[in-house]
């Protein structure tokens, strides 16, 4: 054994032997790891992306349906409109008659058609748009072009009108 090896053994015993008399601490519990890498990488990333996309799509759908039904982008208006409709339907119930579902549905349907018709007449709400006659609107009075009841747009009500004369 070389001098270095002897010195190494002696020094290691001097430094480490006291460790063997130390109290043993309680073992740290092993936690399952859910690291950022799991969420942001591999299959975790795909799942996270799908969940976020789903949440965003649901929020967008709620906004579109709410705006189309009430004609307003303000969510506080949506509840108010529905409340009024329900109250109207309740008042219209005859004595002994039950159920306001059909009534509310028909009111919502009529309102949706009215909003859609208004949108067709006044433009789609964008800052500048051309109507069927080729005139330019500022679009401030457009109530959106949503079709509240989910039925296809009634194209037969559109009046084709004369083609816009360019350059006149």
């Amino acid at each position: 054994m070389s001098d270095l090896e002897r010195e190494l053994e002696s020094e290691l015993h001097r430094v480490l032997d006291p460790v063997s008399s130390l109290p043993i601490p309680p073992r740290r519990a092993a936690h399952p790891r859910v690291s950022a890498r799991t969420l942001l990488g591999g299959a975790g990333a795909a799942l996270t992306f799908k969940i976020l996309t789903g949440v965003a799509a649901a929020a967008a759908a709620v906004t579109v349906v709410g705006a189309a039904t009430t004609g307003s982008l303000d969510p506080s208006v949506w509840g108010q409109v529905v409340e009024e409709q329900v109250q109207t339907c309740k008042n219209a119930l005859a004595q002994g008659e039950h159920g306001i579902g059909q009534c509310v549905s028909s009111v919502a349907s009529q309102h949706g058609q009215a909003v859609a018709s208004s949108a067709r007449h006044h433009g789609d709400g964008s800052s500048k748009s051309k109507d069927n006659n080729g005139n330019t609107n500022n679009g401030n009075n457009g109530g959106g072009n949503g079709n509240a009841n989910g039925h296809p747009k009634d194209r037969s009500t559109r009046s084709p009108g004369p083609p816009a004369s360019r350059g006149s």
Binding site: L8, E11, L12, V19, S20, I24, P25
Partner: protein
């Protein structure tokens, strides 16, 4: 000290035979039997006692996660040492990154004083071991402190048994160079 041909594992052979992979009670017993030896090795590999204690806990956490799949083809303590060496390698890597950040923050300020808890462990030789590559330092500690056989060192540092002698020779040479001895 036990004969190196027999190795450190032979003394604990009976206990090792009783370890059942996946058994909660056996892992707790393994922890009690080996914690201090694993901590001792880590003290020579990482910068201070507190870090060594943290690395020891990390070692047993990793070991616990793989306890069900542990194959008793190598001594269990050598397996734990292998995990501990890998933990020390990770810690050194992170330490280099932390030191770079601390250096930038400390520029122009006086360096902090020595930690009083480290004074008892102050040793030029141990300080030189910490400057060696972790696997080389571990090989020296396993041979010259724990009395491991070549087979156990091979299992702990992840090299073939035939390579251990040359690795130990290289580690001693490197240690002499760090100490500035001929």
């Amino acid at each position: 000290m036990q004969s190196r041909e027999e190795g450190a594992a032979s003394g604990a052979a009976k206990a090792e035979e009783a370890y059942q992979p996946g058994s909660e009670a056996d892992f707790e017993r393994l922890y009690r039997n080996t914690y201090r030896r694993i901590l001792g090795t880590l003290i020579t590999l990482v910068r201070d006692r507190a870090t060594a204690e943290d690395c020891a806990q990390e070692t047993f956490e990793r070991a616990y996660r793989n306890w069900k799949s542990w194959q008793p083809d190598a001594p269990v303590e050598a397996w734990l040492h292998r995990i501990a060496i890998n933990v020390a390698i990770s810690d050194r890597r992170h330490q280099r990154i932390r030191q770079a950040g601390e250096l930038v923050r400390r520029l122009g300020r006086p360096a902090p004083g020595a930690d009083p808890s480290l004074v008892a462990e102050r040793s030029d030789l141990v300080a030189a071991l910490k400057k060696l590559p972790p696997k080389q330092a571990a090989a020296l500690v396993l041979r010259h402190y724990h009395g491991y056989s070549n087979r156990e060192i091979a299992a702990a540092i992840g090299v073939p048994e035939q390579t251990v002698a040359s690795r130990l020779g290289a580690a001693r040479k490197q240690l002499q160079a760090v100490l500035g001895r001929p």
